[in-house]
């Protein structure tokens, strides 16, 4: 059984698109990691409604210029790394695809880069002729699947129209050889750009991206909103599935509880009565999600890091886990998503989808059974996952204990999946080493 699973996973990983995805994500891991750190610093440490800012009273301690500087810097870093992630992904994916088929990889990479930008180009008249307007949503980490498909597509165009001729690594090429490469690239480049421009125009016309964005936002808000648990669960599942696919990126969990309707009523009740045991709306999805299902970002990444530390044997895995431990503690899990990778990794699909849902349900059950109080109190952004229920319940020890038990449960569930994933990884490497 286990062997068959490993074999199936290996076969899945050998599919060209998955192979390209994995290589691309690996290459971009350092970039994603910088983005993750920047987001962590911004959202958990220096934003005015963040955990550390409030707890350490940074507003009073920190000089204004320093605060402005740090917020600007982290914001800029996040925008460059995560905001342009799609462009880099398209470049890398095109390059690796071309390489897979022994085509001119650097040329394909550049073509992927240009095609991606063309697709996101907005044909709106800007007042300033020196500015280009792009649809940043398509270029950002939130659409990385799209970028991977674009890159892969460009690579395939090179396979179809290219004339082979992988550039040799060692020797410095002669001018003649270079000219040959450049001329050979013209056909696939033209074709890619033409398709990119046509599709880009179509996207502009359909305002595709704003529809997509509307859909993400709607899904996220819906999952986060005040719907009853039964309505919200399938939607949360869909939104988790999308983030596993690489759509929607760092999502649902980063915003502090929105206070509308039922959540406000709960908080008001808690303030008036001095306790949250009997709030009117006990199973509020938004509150339950941020208190119990959000250890380290979507898919309980903190549990995955701990599971990696416990069973990972390869030194690389241990290093990866160490690098990601602190960010996931403050709910920035995207480094691990790309570094392991979790995105499009079939082994992790099941726990990634089901663990947050299980946590939600267990949290709801425990609240309904009066084992723990509800958690309506304000939760600053980036509150460490294990402390979320404690802070959200105004310091209830049972809630703290419960979330720690949940975390241990999550780690326990992740362990066999990590074993399977690492086993499949070794097998894949062996096969590739032979081939």
């Amino acid at each position: 059984m286990l062997n068959r699973l490993v074999e199936w996973t290996v076969r899945f990983n050998q599919r060209s698109f998955i192979k390209i995805t994995r290589q691309t994500l690996m290459l971009l891991f350092p970039i994603a990691y910088v983005g993750t750190l920047a987001v962590m610093l911004k959202k958990a440490f220096f934003a005015t409604d963040s955990f550390f800012f409030n707890v350490a009273d940074l507003g009073d301690i920190m000089p204004d210029w320093l605060w402005t500087g740090i917020t600007g810097l982290t914001g800029g870093l996040a925008k460059i790394t995560f905001g342009m992630f799609g462009v880099m992904a398209a470049y890398a994916a095109a390059r690796y695809t071309a390489k897979l088929y022994h085509q001119d990889a650097p040329m394909a990479g550049m073509t992927g880069f240009a095609t991606m930008l063309l697709l996101a180009f907005r044909y709106t008249r800007t007042s300033n002729p020196n500015m280009i307007s792009f649809d940043w949503n398509l270029l950002s980490v939130r659409s990385v699947l799209f970028a991977l498909i674009v890159g892969y597509g460009v690579g395939q165009v090179y396979r179809w129209l290219g004339k082979g001729g992988e550039p040799s690594d060692q020797t410095i090429e002669t001018l003649e050889k270079m000219q040959q490469r450049a001329l050979n690239a013209i056909r696939p480049l033209f074709f890619s750009l033409a398709v990119g421009a046509a599709l880009g125009a179509l996207f502009n016309w359909l305002t595709l991206s704003s529809w997509l964005d509307l859909a993400y936002t709607w899904l996220e808000n819906f999952g986060q909103g005040n719907q009853s648990l039964w309505v919200a669960l399938p939607l949360i599942a869909v939104s988790l599935l999308m983030s596993w696919l690489g759509i929607g990126g760092p999502t649902i969990n980063t915003v502090a509880q929105g206070l509308t309707g039922a959540a406000a009523a709960n908080l008001n009740y808690a303030f008036q009565h001095g306790s949250s045991w009997n709030v009117p709306y006990k199973c509020l999805t938004s509150t339950l999600y941020s208190s119990f299902a959000n250890f380290g970002g979507d898919g309980v990444m903190l549990a995955l890091v701990i599971a990696l530390i416990i069973v990972g044997r390869q030194p690389e895995i241990q290093r990866l886990a160490r690098w990601n431990l602190l960010p996931t503690l403050f709910n920035s899990g995207y480094g691990l998503m790309t570094g392991l990778p979790v995105i499009l990794n079939p082994v992790f699909l099941l726990p990634y989808l089901l663990l947050p849902l299980a946590n939600l349900l267990l949290g709801a059950l425990a609240t309904l059974m009066h084992l723990i109080p509800a958690t309506p109190y304000p939760l600053p952004m980036g509150t460490p996952g294990p402390l979320a229920a404690f802070i959200g319940s105004n310091g209830d020890w049972e809630a703290l204990l419960f979330s720690l038990v949940l975390l241990i449960f999550d780690v326990w569930v992740y362990i066999p999946f990590v074993r399977l994933a690492l086993g499949a990884e070794l097998k894949t490497q062996q096969i590739e080493a032979v081939a």
């Binding site: 707890v55 808690a270 303030f271 030194p315 241990q318 310091g395």
Partner: protein, 302 residues
């Protein structure tokens, strides 16, 4: 290739232990912050006080409304206490008078050392008012209030609502605003000559809270003005407020004491304040207590 490297895992374990310790260390200040914050928010949420905050017009001091408050208090068994603030250009804020304990509807007047006319000064005054307001909500922890502005005071309110109020709107609600003789378009009687300030008001009107009731009262000494302010300029307010706030009501008072500077002491206007602006003096005062909008507190960082 299977490499068992215990050194690596030991390092990871050490980091894991460090993180657990870090979490425990963080838990203590987090605990105290949480208790503090929730206590503060609960206090605000439970607060019964709903003051009337008044801003006088240009050239007037914090004592501008003394006579008006005396008149208001004459009619009712509920005596509003009067607290007066003066904001100095240096940022210093002084307090005179006090809010008596048990008074849920005190009157708070905020005056400025710089009480000059003109858009530049109004901008400065709005900022100074914001500082005073910040101190007030910190000190008295009310979660809703009513606003009153005479002449330029109404302009300061409008600017403050558009520019600063969103910082507070989650947890302090402005229920009603009454402006008296406020020239929204300064000295221009026609909106076809918009002043810089009026243009700003129009541009940022979407910042005005949609739950607000606004009463714009004008005085009319002649058919076109109250002696100082042109009626056209007062009525320009409708393009700012109408269709943006919940209700916008225009009223014009004529007769004796309808001259601009006498308006705050005008009997009609005292009645309007009692009827429309105050909670406790409303005819069905008992109901109005129960009707009090249940406000929603919010995630905030005081």
């Amino acid at each position: 290739m299977l490499i068992i490297n215990d050194k690596e895992r030991r390092r990871s374990m050490r980091l894991l232990i460090f993180v657990v310790v870090l979490l425990i260390v963080l838990a203590f200040p987090a605990y105290f912050w949480m208790k503090d914050n929730n206590h503060y928010l609960a206090q605000r949420s439970k607060a019964q006080m709903s003051p009337v905050i008044m801003i006088p017009g240009s050239s007037a001091t914090k004592n501008r409304f003394d006579e008006m408050v005396t008149l208001l208090n004459k009619d009712t068994s509920h005596k509003h206490s009067l607290l007066k603030l003066e904001v100095y250009n240096s940022g210093k804020i002084t307090y005179t008078g006090k809010i008596s304990s048990g008074d849920n509807e005190p009157i708070i007047v905020v005056g400025f050392q710089n009480n000059h006319d003109g858009y530049d000064n109004i901008k400065k005054q709005a900022k100074m008012f914001d500082e005073a307001f910040n101190e007030l909500i910190d000190q008295y922890k009310f979660n809703n209030f009513k606003a009153f502005g005479h002449s330029n005071g109404g302009l300061i309110w409008t600017l403050w609502l558009e520019k600063y109020y969103s910082d507070y709107s989650d947890y302090v609600k402005i229920k009603r605003l009454m402006t008296v003789g406020s020239p929204f378009n300064l000295n221009e009687s026609s909106t076809s000559n918009p002043t810089q300030m009026y243009t700003y008001f129009l541009k940022h009107r979407d910042q005005l809270p949609s739950s607000l009731d606004v009463y714009s009262v004008s005085g009319a000494d002649t058919y076109t003005e109250d002696g100082i302010v042109k009626l056209g300029s007062v009525r320009a307010g409708r393009y700012i407020y109408q269709k943006q706030v919940k209700h916008y009501t225009e009223m014009t008072v004529t007769g004796s004491k309808a001259q601009h500077s006498s308006l705050p002491q005008n009997r009609q206007i005292i009645n309007l304040i009692e009827e429309y602006l105050l909670d406790s003096d409303q005819p069905n005062a008992v109901n109005s207590k129960n009707k009090r909008v249940s406000h929603s507190s919010s995630v905030s960082n005081p």
